[in-house]
């Protein structure tokens, strides 16, 4: 009998531990009838994209909750901030989505749409939220090129949040000291190098910063090798074939060699783990003469009010110029000037329990009222909607410059799932050149890697 009791005890202990384990696995359920939504961006109050984070927290959430309440729905929205490098943000989102979790509404880089869609992490909007996806009145206001960023294989996967363009920023104060004009507009790469030489002899520590290396990730591609590549008349992918060790790539890498091998740039800055943030800081401190960046730099980095590297005299002392082709007429499509564009998307998480409400939230953030509120007080950006852009860009010289001069000559990255891997290979090629490898050799190494990534030499243009 005593024995029996003891074994019952063992069973009881086992049962209790199993129950305990099961309880650990249970998630706490929602409270009451309230619909809980989460929205995430790579933005955080007081840090990266602070203005965007504040806008969501202080305007979108209260207004959206109030609007839903008026319709008789109890909706609670939570903002999930993030303030890290884009690559880390992407890893985090992929892991969230892979494990069937993640915020209901999430901002992603448009170039991730393809690989997320193929992985099943994103679903076409109509499948997810029904007819509302196509009947949203915003679509009529969004230009086709911008809509294209949110499409994959002809289907809409998300809402476009806007687009951007790239220019050469320069420090007018340093330019004056070096005897260079305040309305500088180079028409060839040689003129950039000449300006760099003059800046150097006038004592500027870092005359030119064009992103290179793998530490800066996609920033090296978008603000570095890709604008140079289109400036030399090449594209990463043309008519379905990838570009290997072509002359344009060798020319682009050759410019890197002239800048970083010739003392016109700081090679070590390209290797540092936080090199891009440092380049922002150094430009703001007047140590960098010329910097190739997107309009993000103007809006969120050196913005005197909200930037991460504020420049109080931004409007007076920072000039901007279009990125010239290698030589006039040598750019893609015979252009004299070039740029690259991308943009973010606002996607609805297929794992969301309330996809319709999540979609409503996403469209709410892209309504004319919301976009005007978001872009007021010097936070102007190019929104996806032409009706809004018409009103808000007028008072902002740089954004007008980009929308009128730069966007007409811009180019987009190939919207295919394998692009991010190709991009890393390009970054590695620039890293090699900056640390001393000859451009031809780096280009040949790139082609070899490319063959592995895109499935053999057959997919590479000879």
């Amino acid at each position: 009998m005593a024995l029996r009791k003891r074994s019952m005890g063992v069973v009881a202990v086992l049962a209790a531990s199993v129950v305990g384990l099961a309880a650990c696995g249970q998630s706490s359920g929602g409270s009451g009838d309230a619909i809980e939504l989460t929205i995430t961006q790579n933005a955080i109050a007081g840090g990266k994209n602070a203005a965007g984070a504040d806008f969501i927290a202080n305007w979108v959430i209260p207004k959206f909750e109030a609007a839903q309440k008026a319709k008789g729905k109890d909706v609670k929205v939570k903002f999930v901030p993030s303030g890290v490098d884009d690559e880390q943000y992407k890893t985090k989102l992929s892991l969230d989505l892979k494990s069937g979790k993640g915020a209901d509404v999430m901002d992603i880089d448009s170039i991730w749409a393809g690989e997320f869609a193929e992985a099943g992490y994103l679903k076409p909007l109509p499948d997810l939220v029904g007819a509302e996806a196509d009947s949203w009145d915003g679509w009529a206001q969004i230009p086709e090129a911008v809509q294209g960023m949110a499409m994959y294989n002809g289907k809409k996967y998300a809402l476009p949040v806007g687009t951007d363009g790239r220019v050469l920023y320069f420090n007018k104060t340093l330019f004056q000291k070096a005897g260079l004009p305040a309305d500088w507009q180079p028409t060839s790469w040689q003129e950039i190098l000449d300006a760099g030489t003059k800046l150097k002899s006038s004592g500027v520590p870092v005359p030119i910063q064009i992103n290179a290396g793998t530490a800066m990730g996609e920033a090296t591609s978008m603000q570095g090798v890709l604008p140079l590549l289109v400036g030399a008349g090449g594209e990463v992918q043309q008519n379905g074939k990838w570009t290997g060790a072509s002359q344009p790539l060798k020319d682009a890498l050759g410019l890197y060699q002239k800048i970083y091998g010739g003392g016109l740039g700081d090679p070590k800055l390209q290797q540092e783990a936080k090199g891009r943030d440092k380049s922002f800081q150094q430009f703001a401190e007047g140590k960098i003469g010329i910097l190739l960046e997107g309009d993000y730099f103007w809006r969120s980095v050196i913005n005197p009010a909200e930037g991460v590297a504020k420049m109080a005299d931004r409007d007076q002392s920072v000039g901007y110029a279009m990125i010239p082709a290698m030589e006039p007429g040598k750019g893609i499509k015979g252009q004299d000037f070039v740029s690259m564009s991308g943009g973010s998307l606002r996607a609805v998480n297929p794992n969301s329990e309330h996809p319709k409400e999540a979609f409503e939230l996403a469209t709410f953030t892209l309504s004319p009222e919301a976009l005007k509120e978001e872009t007021k007080d010097g936070n102007v950006r190019i929104t996806p909607r032409t009706d809004v852009n018409k009103d808000i860009l007028a008072g902002e010289p740089l954004m007008t410059f980009i929308s009128e001069k730069v966007l007409p000559v811009t180019a987009f990255r190939p919207p295919v799932a394998v692009y991010p891997q190709v991009s890393v290979a390009l970054q590695e090629a620039t890293a090699a050149v900056v640390s001393g490898t000859a451009p031809d050799q780096a280009a040949a190494d790139y082609q070899k890697k490319l063959e592995g990534i895109v499935g053999g030499a057959g997919n590479i243009a000879s």
């Binding site: 074994s7 892991l95 193929e118 290797q271």
Partner: protein, 309 residues
């Protein structure tokens, strides 16, 4: 832990005594098994299954994103073959060997033993201060400590440059391996120091006393009296910290594997290919190789430990 730090005494006695020993609690095989079952279940779920899962993933082209995330294909040994034919894998392995030898075997064991030996007979505030500082370096969270070291070694406005008046000296870029080796030595010495401190306490003072009376020098005392006594501790310590250091990810927080992969130890390499590059299948294959290397290291030390003279 206690069992691992002293060499196990293998009991070879008569069959009867062994049977008595193997069931000291008198539970019987079935109930003893029932008691052990929850623990074994946890080990199976959280240790054995993930390990097997990694083995399986290593045979697929599974990716974090893209088509291969939805429908991974079985690729057999392709990942393993491309790993061993990839020069970056071998350079990572070599860097890891440097990291383990430099920071664990030489750095932590050497410094830890040195501190324990110098402080063995001391009492009072000096001993407490030194031990306190060493242990502090060990117990602070990695993220905070790494941030402090980045602030120390930074090229622009780093504390070290300010102290030495060497502007633009960039240890993390020019000497990345040395930086993480020094960092990890500083970080992990406490464990070895405490272990050797305890071990030295077990060396009978009378033996040392006789050695001194016989005219043995300091080195001779160490070699002939102390080391034979703490041999088991040394090997166990080496085993543990070698494996910890081998799998340590903290260097990533200092150098992110850079510049251009010059400090990309295997743990960082796996993170980079699997999570940043999204190649989960390939990353799993590399993890499998790391698992094998760990097993080899562990077996090597355990054999040394068993071969009692």
């Amino acid at each position: 832990m206690a069992q691992a730090t002293s060499p196990p005494e293998v009991v070879r006695e008569s069959g009867q005594a062994r049977r008595y020993n193997s069931d000291a609690a008198g539970l019987g095989r079935l109930r003893a098994g029932a008691f052990a079952a929850p623990a074994l279940l946890l080990i199976a779920v959280f240790l054995v299954f993930p390990a097997l899962w990694v083995l399986y993933l290593g045979l697929t082209n599974y990716r974090l994103t893209g088509i291969a995330a939805a429908e991974p294909q079985f690729v057999g040994l392709d990942n393993l073959i491309s790993a061993v034919s990839d020069p970056t894998f071998w350079s990572s392995t070599w860097l890891t060997v440097q990291f383990v030898l430099g920071s664990a075997v030489i750095g932590q064991v050497g410094l830890g033993f040195a501190i324990a030996w110098l402080l063995r007979d001391r009492q009072g505030p000096l001993k407490r201060l030194v031990e306190g500082l060493v242990i502090l370096a060990w117990i602070l969270p990695s993220a905070i400590v790494s941030f402090l070291w980045v602030a120390l070694l930074d090229r622009d406005g780093g504390t070290l440059n300010a102290l030495l008046s060497t502007p633009q000296f960039a240890p993390l870029l020019d000497h990345p391996m040395l930086s993480i080796i020094v960092f990890n030595t500083w970080r992990g010495t406490a464990f070895s120091m405490m272990l050797y401190g305890a071990a030295l306490g077990n060396v009978p003072p009378s033996h040392l006393e006789s050695a001194r009376l016989a005219g043995a020098s300091g080195w001779q005392q160490l070699r002939d009296v102390v080391f034979p006594h703490i041999r088991g501790h040394i090997l166990t310590n080496l085993l543990l910290i070698s494996l910890w250091t081998f799998n340590d990810f903290t260097p990533f927080l200092l150098t992110a594997g850079g510049p251009d992969g010059q400090s990309e130890v295997l743990a960082v390499h796996v993170y980079k290919v699997a999570l940043q590059g999204g190649e989960l299948g390939y990353g799993a294959a590399v993890s499998t190789i790391i698992l094998l290397i760990n097993l080899v290291v562990a077996v090597f030390y355990l054999r040394l430990l068993r071969s009692k003279k």
